[in-house]
């Protein structure tokens, strides 16, 4: 048995009332909001209007929730192609916040929030934290990165609004994180799960056993993780480890969250309408079947997004949740329907790695991305075959090539990757699509 300290008395925040709305009322609310957001998107965003017109669709054609499947999808490249303001439905004077996330070719994706949008986001994060058992009286160490990334400020606003004490420590500086955890009576922490594993290990090296601290809850998101990793975290730190889900394109963290049952994530579907589709055909899948999660922002003002293809693969869980929430649940995200991967909270596409290799070498060498996890930290190694064109008889020239590759990858991805030069023809060629990625991060769990 895993030794976990008992949860404190259940905390009920008024904002969570929305989690328990009877399904019929919820559907009615969703329909009204869907009609509003479609109208808003149609009126104010050229891309949505032209795509709906191509299908002969007008906003008033959306008469039921099922009609959502008649709407066109939105994909990540749409956000990039309309960079920076093309999908805004509000004038800049109504926008109180901009965030940005990495795009496929280095250009970021810009997302906008009106004051109402920030309120909805905060409401979703309050419900997220409440569902993880956090409330007034908790001391929350927020180790998500503050800045353009939505994680930091999203969790910050939610934690403050719920009445907790927030420590806005942001990411990095592990030793200071441990000192703060220990000295400031921290009861809850928000960070990526892999970073928390690293915290456990570093704390041990410093002679600090997290099981002896007041810490009791971890709110972990921004990357996929597994149940075995949860068991590792919970037994080594005596906390309840919860999975949360979100993405900048939709709002940021706060789209879905686990509850005390730790069996699937409830989607805050009064604001974010979920569908599961077949990624190949785009058809809506029957309840329970695994497919790609598609989300529509029901309440967004500054930047409504219709049927956003998240590329995250999951399935609806059937049956009511013992926690009593009526919100539908999705299974933990296990993988992606495209080749994107997340490392240290940063989205990376192999095409970005290719762009960097191409920029340095002039032609694209065969390469392989290998992801591993050491001491809870993600490591990314790019193996690059040495081509006759770049080969030199001088060690210094090859080392310089290696350095240039590392710098260019850092430039494009914003993270440090290791580069290993390998002999030609040693990276396995497969028929058809080359295998570009080996993810060994979960093998050590």
């Amino acid at each position: 048995m895993i030794d976990i300290r008992p949860a404190t008395a259940p905390i009920f925040h008024p904002a969570s009332a929305q989690d328990y709305v009877p399904p019929l009322l919820l559907r009615a609310l969703q329909l009204r909001r869907l009609q509003n957001v479609v109208r808003r998107a149609y009126q104010h965003v050229e891309l949505f209007r032209s795509r709906m017109q191509e299908r002969g669709l007008r906003p008033e054609d959306i008469r039921s929730l099922e009609d959502i499947s008649r709407l066109p999808f939105t994909v990540k490249t749409d956000l990039r192609d309309t960079y920076p303001f093309g999908l805004f439905a509000s004038p800049m004077q109504d926008v109180v916040r901009l965030h940005a996330s990495s795009g496929t070719t280095g250009k970021p994706i810009v997302v906008a929030y009106t004051r109402e949008d920030v309120e909805v986001w905060t409401n979703a994060m309050v419900r997220t934290l409440a569902s993880c058992g956090i409330g007034a009286g908790d001391v929350v160490q927020n180790a998500y990165g503050y800045g353009l990334f939505t994680g930091g400020l999203g969790a910050h606003y939610g934690a403050e609004a719920i009445g907790a004490t927030v420590i806005p420590i942001s990411g990095g500086n592990t030793d200071r994180q441990i000192m703060v955890l220990k000295d400031l009576g921290v009861t809850a922490i928000c960070c990526t799960p892999s970073y928390f594993v690293h915290l456990i290990e570093r704390a041990r090296e410093l002679g600090v056993d997290l099981r002896d601290l007041a810490l009791r809850v971890g709110v972990f998101g921004a990357e996929p993780w597994t149940d075995s990793m949860r068991r590792h975290i919970e037994s080594n730190s005596r906390i309840h480890a919860y999975d949360i889900y979100g993405l900048s394109e939709i709002t940021g963290p706060g789209v879905a969250s686990e509850c005390g049952c730790q069996d699937g994530l409830h989607i805050f579907e009064d604001h974010f309408y979920p569908e599961i589709i077949d990624p190949a055909t785009g058809e809506t899948l029957p309840e329970g079947e695994e497919g790609e999660l598609v989300l529509t922002t029901l309440s967004k003002v500054a930047m409504p997004i219709l049927r956003y293809r998240t590329r995250d693969v999951t399935a609806f869980l059937s049956g009511p949740c013992p926690c009593g929430r009526t919100l539908r649940r999705i299974r933990r995200i296990s993988r992606r329907s495209d080749d994107m991967f997340i490392i240290r909270g940063v989205n990376v596409f192999p095409s970005q790695v290719e762009a960097a290799l191409l920029a340095v070498e002039g032609t694209l060498p065969h390469y392989l991305i290998v992801l591993t996890r050491e001491k809870g930290l993600d490591r990314m190694e790019v193996q690059v075959e040495v081509t006759p064109e770049v080969f030199s008889d001088k060690i210094g020239a090859l080392e310089e090539l290696q350095d240039r590759l590392v710098r260019e990858l850092d430039n494009v991805l914003g993270i440090r990757a290791e580069v290993r030069l390998v002999e030609p023809h040693t990276i396995q060629r497969s028929e058809g699509k080359a295998r570009r990625l080996i993810d060994r991060r979960h093998m050590a769990d």
């Binding site: 006759p388 080969f391 030199s392 008889d393 001088k394 060690i395 090859l398 030069l421 002999e423 040693t426």
Partner: protein, 147 residues
């Protein structure tokens, strides 16, 4: 005057060196001398062989990153200070030595060194004007016994 040296990229892993050597042996190509420069991850095998053109196409066909580079074989008196005199010659010159290694077969009183200069033509000029013997490729390929 100039000698063709073959350079090969190898990963720093057990068994990597044996493979190209076996390949050359099976083709009856003799390795006259070699040197290995390495880092933790990779190495460069540099060698002078009896038939560099055949060796080069053989290795390339086998998938190696292989490159021919012009180097010089220089005869140095086999006594204390023999090498130092040559190195000193290039210290103040605009010609740089990229790397060097020894050639095992010389005459009794001479040692032979392989030099990789950034500008081999200029280096030949300097060496010869100083009266230093730069060996011809044919001697080296055939066993390093200059006439």
């Amino acid at each position: 005057m100039k000698i063709q040296q073959l350079s090969l990229f190898l990963e720093n892993k057990p068994g990597r060196l044996a493979e190209p050597c076996r390949l050359l042996a099976e083709a009856g190509i003799n390795i006259r001398t070699l040197s290995l420069a390495d880092t933790q991850q990779f190495g460069i095998l540099r060698m002078v062989v009896s038939d560099w053109e055949r060796a080069s196409s053989l290795l390339k066909d086998a998938g190696y990153a292989c490159k021919a580079t012009e180097v010089l074989a220089v005869e140095v008196p086999d006594r204390p200070g023999g090498l130092a005199a040559i190195l000193e010659m290039f210290e103040s010159s605009s010609v740089n030595i990229e790397y060097m290694y020894a050639f095992p077969f010389g005459r009794l009183d001479k040692a032979v060194l392989i030099f990789r200069f950034d500008d081999p033509d200029k280096a030949i000029e300097r060496l010869q004007s100083a009266g230093i013997n730069v060996l011809a490729g044919v001697d080296i390929y055939n066993g390093g016994h200059p006439a």
